[in-house]
């Protein structure tokens, strides 16, 4: 019996070995290392050297204009994109959930942007956003003056917002669709007997029952928008321009770490970002996720 237990334990560790090695080396060790870096001035010239500087990296953020600009951009982006993509996701899911012919084809079609790489999407949209491009042509039909989407600091971030609402909504639509299928038909039938119409049913039955999913979608949306990088990088050639208008927090971290080689400060910024994201995740799990884990 004991021998058997020993062999079972050995098999367990052996099965987990690759996972433990990879997670240990490229996840756990880096977390500790990131915290360590954030308290040091890091020199990369000919080998790496560290100088302990206490909380200086964290203090420095407060006086760093670019940090505030990146935070402002990221918050503006989240506040506009999250509600729009959530609303669009609910709308599409609700329509797709009604038993319409061909809805599967629509669902697959809607999904295209979600499976396309961010690099390709950004390039297609840059091509559409050109001053003499398709979007301005379309706006011209409605008598709207052309925008300089790529070059005008006032609208550059709006262009990325537009693109990301379009590309992320279908992802959350799928989550809503799964949730909608769990709502029993009997609830709607009861409402119909009471004479409720479609919109009324949507407001007083569907939306309230979707509350936990909406909470999940909103927190996931917030986390996703905080992590915006690819689109801003490709859009601005890595600069965050024009005039810092597409500078996001992750782009700023990238620039400090890999352009200025100021790894300690960049690590401190990453620790702050991770703390915010994990706080949002913990709140979300507390309220919504617990019962799903076991």
């Amino acid at each position: 019996m004991n021998r058997r237990k020993l062999r079972e334990a050995a098999a367990g560790y052996l099965f987990l070995l690759p996972t433990l090695l990879v997670i240990g080396t490229f996840l756990l060790a880096p977390i500790v290392y990131a915290l360590f870096l954030s308290f040091h001035k890091v020199q990369l010239l000919g080998g790496i050297s560290y100088r302990f500087i206490d909380f200086d990296n964290y203090v420095r953020m407060g006086a760093d204009d670019r940090v505030w600009i990146a935070l402002y951009n990221t918050f503006e982006y989240a506040i506009i994109v999250v509600p729009l993509q959530t609303a669009l996701a609910i709308l599409l899911a609700a329509v797709l959930n009604s038993k319409l012919r061909g809805r599967n084809a629509f669902r697959i079609l809607y999904f295209l942007p979600t499976v396309t790489s961010s690099a390709v999407l950004t390039l297609i949209f840059m091509w559409i956003f050109k001053t003499d491009g398709l979007l301005n042509d379309l706006l011209g039909v409605f008598g709207i003056q052309p925008f300089n989407w790529l070059g005008d600091p006032k609208v550059a971030l709006k262009g990325i917002m537009l693109m990301n609402v379009w590309s992320t909504a279908p992802y959350f639509m799928v989550i809503y669709l799964a949730a909608l299928q769990d709502i029993p038909d009997s609830l709607y039938e009861a409402a119909e007997i009471d004479g409720a119409r479609t919109l009324r049913k949507f407001w007083s039955i569907t939306l309230p029952l979707l509350k936990p999913v909406t909470f999940f979608v909103v927190t996931m949306g917030i986390i996703g928008t905080f992590q915006l990088f690819d689109q801003a990088y490709i859009f601005s050639n890595g600069s965050g321009g024009p005039n810092n208008s597409t500078l996001t927090v992750v782009l700023l971290i990238y620039q400090y770490a890999f352009k200025n080689l100021d790894m300690g400060y960049a690590a401190a910024l990453a620790v702050m970002l991770a703390a915010v994201i994990m706080l949002v995740t913990v709140i979300q799990r507390r309220i919504f996720g617990e019962e799903k884990l076991n």
């Binding site: 079609l109 499976v115 690819d230």
Partner: protein, 278 residues
């Protein structure tokens, strides 16, 4: 909704109108990119909003494959990395999930909660230290530098554990009585039965690796080592205003993921709803 005569306009019409309108919104950017990839530079530069090319040409595709030796190389790099990452994930995530679901050993619960905790760590936190660790290993600008750190995925370990838990033990017990080892039982009995869960994982992991931008950007420094997303980005710098070439390259890049998705879309959806906690 009511029309002038007070007759109820069919709800169905409204629903179809929304579906079709959004299908058009989804499809137009792709169609516009696709049409640009078949146009001549002259036609591109005229800025006219015609979707059907006036002079249909395949030169753009020929040019990126023949005159741009790095493009096929990037395609190869992306394929190599995505396929190996996918294979390793399928194997390692299933093994880990199976061990957590089936084997009794000290630390099992602890490791399970460890993996749940790891799920919450945003990748940005580990980006800089991982870079320094890879530098230490001499793995920067190498395939293994991109492959090994992505060889397991906590979300799918969790998924595989849930899958194996939900699935009756009898077969495995019978196979052990028949003298199969634990490895034999896993590879011959458990893994083949995990087909749908593996398919969802495969599609998800492949797409993630295929489309990844930030990690290759940090790890790969030499142009010949770039994956397609990075290659596309340098294309943009190199051929600025040659949108016909950029769009042709974008279309080639999109095709493999698209084909995979069309065939396996229900598994992809399963992956999403799983990460959505369903």
């Amino acid at each position: 909704m009511w029309d002038k005569k007070g007759v109820r306009v069919s709800l169905r019409t409204v629903q179809y109108a929304i579906l079709i309108a959004y299908a058009v919104i989804t499809f137009i950017p792709f169609l516009w990119g696709l049409s640009a990839s078949f146009k001549t530079l002259g036609e591109i530069s005229s800025g006219e909003p015609n979707f059907i090319p006036k002079t249909f040409t395949l030169d753009n595709y020929k040019q990126i494959f023949v005159d741009e030796p790095l493009f096929p190389r990037w395609f190869g790099n992306s394929t190599l990395v995505a396929v190996i990452v996918m294979g390793l994930n399928l194997l390692f995530n299933s093994m880990a999930g199976y061990a957590l679901a089936r084997f009794n050993f000290p630390g099992n619960k602890l490791m399970f909660f460890g993996i749940l905790a790891v799920l919450m760590i945003p990748g940005q936190l580990t980006l800089i230290p991982s870079y320094l660790i890879l530098n230490d290993f001499g793995w920067l600008n190498s395939y293994q530098g991109l492959i090994v750190p992505g060889a397991v995925n906590a979300t799918f370990i969790f998924m595989m554990r849930q899958f194996f838990l939900s699935f009756p033990k009898d077969l495995e017990e019978a196979s052990e009585i028949d003298g199969l080892s634990r490895f034999g039982t896993f590879f011959r009995i458990a893994l083949p039965l995990a087909g749908p869960a593996l398919a969802a994982q495969a599609v998800f992991i492949f797409m993630g690796a295929w489309n990844d931008f930030l990690r290759p950007l940090v790890i790969m420094s030499e142009k010949a080592m770039f994956t397609l997303p990075l290659g596309l980005n340098t294309f943009k710098g190199q051929y600025f205003s040659f949108w016909n070439l950029i769009m042709a390259a974008s279309m080639v890049f999109t095709l493999p993921a698209l084909i995979l998705f069309i065939f396996f879309n229900r598994f992809f959806v399963k992956g999403i709803t799983f990460t959505g906690g369903k």
